[in-house]
Amino acid sequence: MLDFHLILSSLPLYASGLLVTFELLLIALALGLLLAVPLALMRVSRSPLVNFPAWLYTYVIRGTPMLVQLFLLYYGLAQFDVIRDSFMWPYFSSATFCACLAFAINTSAYTSEILAGSLKATPPGEIEAARAMGMSRAQLYRRILLPSAMRRALPQYSNEVIMMLHTTSLASLVTLIDLTGAARTISSQYYMPFEAFITAGLFYLVLTVGLVRLFKYAELRWLAHLTPRKH
């Protein structure tokens, strides 16, 4: 009853979709992390003037669906002549650019909250020791707080990366042919939705399991100091 012959012959399309998914994921994560570090530093600030804008940003982004954010950027901005006439238009009219930007903004909000939580959970002794060594504030952040917080954020960050992998599937709704887009193309071409989507699902499942493994390995490497004693 199920026919996987056509799926086998469409594997090249899935493969090119896989590349697009990877590209979106890597760009979104890299940009997102870049944005998340300053945001997290703002979120741990005691000054409300610094803290509030970052809080508002993460609250709004985390309180609205990714789909709405993506549509606002890709379809929404075209409404304004100012943007259509500006030098930015070639970028904002590109689905790849908008998808990467929307995903990066989204993940930056979640990642900054993870990082801020991790920063706040720094053992007081680490900070006191750094001060006792005479480190400046910048040195304290660069040498002690950030490296230590980023390591401790790894388990939660691995969840965020997997969520992000799944989020990239929304790119198929703004004309991109990622893994999900490939499945949608094949589904409508041969009218075999079941086979087409189950194949895409399997690809994502393998990628998810791979990412979980990768992060387990990363935790072994960078969180070795926090693992319980074996004997």
């Binding site: 009853m1 709004v60 799944h166 709704l173 589904s187 939705p193 994502y204 499942l205």
Partner: protein
């Protein structure tokens, strides 16, 4: 500002809320079943529960929605003729949406509930048994009320993700607020206005949910000692 589309979008918002609530009800049922399976001493039952949680959580919501909605419809119509049913079966998007979201978030909730059950001190269930309660009584009177307190933070998170994920059901034609906003955006050529309005409504929904669930958490934490640092 919304050019008369306001009431239509609010109508869609109502459908979004109904969809989210119905899906959550189903998800809680499936989540409890999943958690019970995963905590079962019987190996094959535990494996079944694990497989459900791992499979669903490893695949994007959108792919599952497309798979269940289009794939499910296709499969039903391929099987039906062999059972002597020849008319084309059209699945209602709302029913499909509830089943899809319920099925997906049941997997996430099974993880939340499993962790919450495991956080209850073992002595609690033992004390119940010592009082002569049956297994079902221990479960309903002792474990579930305490599990709720441990599960609320995870549950809040699951609920927020679910409400936001309902936007994806508009892709398969359910006329929720996202769908209505898209229609209004196409008709008026003002997409930003309408998507922003819908974003505001989602934010309202998540904010109210947060406040309500915080109150519930307070209610279920009555009598729990906390220490200020």
């Amino acid at each position: 500002m919304l050019q008369g589309y306001g009431p239509i979008i609010v109508e869609g918002a109502w459908l979004t809320l109904t969809l989210a609530l119905c899906s959550m009800a189903l998800a809680i049922l499936l989540g409890l079943t999943g958690a019970a399976l995963r905590l079962s001493p019987l190996r094959w039952l535990a494996n079944l529960g694990d497989a459900y949680a791992t499979l669903i959580r490893g695949i994007p919501d959108l792919v599952l929605i497309l798979l269940i909605f289009y794939g499910g419809q296709d499969l039903v119509n391929r099987i039906a003729p062999s059972l002597g049913y020849t008319a084309y079966i059209d699945i209602n998007p709302f029913v499909a949406g509830v089943f899809t979201m319920g099925f997906i978030f049941g997997a996430y909730l099974s993880e939340t509930f499993r962790g919450a059950f495991m956080a209850i001190a073992k002595g609690q269930a033992e004390a119940g048994a010592a009082y002569g309660m049956s297994g079902a009584q221990v479960f309903l009177r002792i474990l579930v009320p305490q599990m709720i307190r441990f599960a609320i933070p995870g549950f809040t998170n699951n609920w927020l993700v679910l409400t936001k994920a309902t936007a994806l059901i508009s892709v398969v034609g359910l006329q929720d607020m996202m769908f209505k906003a898209k229609n209004a955006a196409d008709a008026t050529r003002e997409p930003f206005t309408f998507y922003l309005a819908v974003a505001g409504l989602y934010l309202l929904l998540t904010s109210v949910s947060l406040l309500l669930l915080r109150a519930v958490e307070k209610r279920y934490s009555a009598g729990v000692r906390t220490a200020e640092i």
